[in-house]
Assembly symmetry: C2
DNA sequence: GCATCAAGCTATTAGTCGTAGCCACCCCCG
DNA sequence: CGGGGGTGGCTACGACTAATAGCTTGATGC
């Protein structure tokens, strides 16, 4: 019996692909195993069950989303950075719905948890968007949460076909970006 | 063998309770049956399988959320209506996470679908929030989507423990409501 | 009072995750 | 170079799930 040469990372990558393809259905060990040309129980030599595998996919998703955000925002500030971040999130959620869905519900993290460091890196991108606006430091955390809520909500509703009406969704995204940009500029400490 | 006297609606209600209690875990027929004092297969006399039951829970959730929104916004306008809507959504999602999660992913609906009429009723509440602002009619649909994205995103991130930092979440909600209110007033057709 | 329909049940099938235990391959080390 | 150990596959199994088939009994209507 020839060895498939699996390694932890390759199992996670295959699981992420499967999760994206079958989203919103839950990830299944048997499908991941089949994708890797291996029988189900073999996976348990590399990952510690379905929960662990899902968690690994979530961590991968957080890291990839953070990379996408940083790349999109490189060299941009203010409205440009905001629009780039929104577009990056929408694109990532549409291309990798399973990975992104896994990232939600990672729950609170401990300080030294590998999840926490990736999550911090990714969430700091939202703070970077605000760097272009001179906000009251006390307001920054609220602004980050508002930003994250709006972009997360928009992307998830879009991918879930939650927008019933017929207007163009790109137009709506631009409108929301402009709305937030105007609000943030109006909130600058004068 | 005494009859449990089940009716479709009571099965849906029990399933909704179970879904809320075990959220974010998926709904299971066996748990619903146990809750009703009945064996699993008996449920199939009342609902058409797990997918159908989940869909019924989702419809119930949409209807209840719409009721909660209308009640909260009664007699309010402008910022008051906006704050009431935000609070109503947050409360509903926290009290009924399973119902609410089921509502996402109902997908696009046909015109005469019972889902569509409840969904329209509920979504019209977001339009009602905007009634207090004199917006350009062309912008209204974008504003509705922005509003829904922000409130949906905030509530889901809150219930998923997605807000890592330590600032008070109620404060952040108030800040976001104020932010949107100021933006909408600034966008009024002068 | 009887017949019919509805609503429960048990038994079964197929599919899931996960564990136990086996076996062969590969590498390292003496 | 040869053996031992660790590694990574496998099959077999147990417990759980949804769902169907078919039976039986209770309730209702004529």
């Amino acid at each position: 019996m020839p060895r498939a040469g699996l390694i932890g990372a390759s199992v996670t990558e295959a699981a992420a692909q499967v999760a994206d393809e079958i989203s919103p259905a839950p990830l299944r060990m048997s499908v991941v195993a089949e994708r890797l040309g291996v029988k189900g129980p073999s996976l348990y030599k590399h990952v510690d069950g379905l929960d662990d595998l899902t968690r690994r996919v979530a961590i991968l998703g957080v890291a990839e989303l953070g990379d996408a955000l940083r790349e999109a925002m490189q060299g941009r500030a203010g409205r440009d950075a905001l629009a780039a971040a929104a577009q990056a999130i929408r694109t990532y959620v549409k291309q990798h719905p399973g990975r992104y869905a896994a990232t939600i519900g990672l729950g609170p993290t401990e300080g030294d948890d590998p999840v926490a460091v990736e999550l911090d890196r990714t969430l700091s991108s939202f703070g970077a968007v605000l760097r272009g606006y001179r906000l009251d430091p006390d307001a920054e955390i609220h602004a980050i949460r508002m930003l994250r809520s709006a972009l997360h909500g928009f992307a998830t509703l879009e991918v879930a076909d939650g927008f019933q009406m017929s207007a163009d969704i790109d137009d709506s995204c631009r409108w929301m970006v402009d709305f937030i940009d105007r609000g943030l500029r109006a909130a600058e400490t004068s």
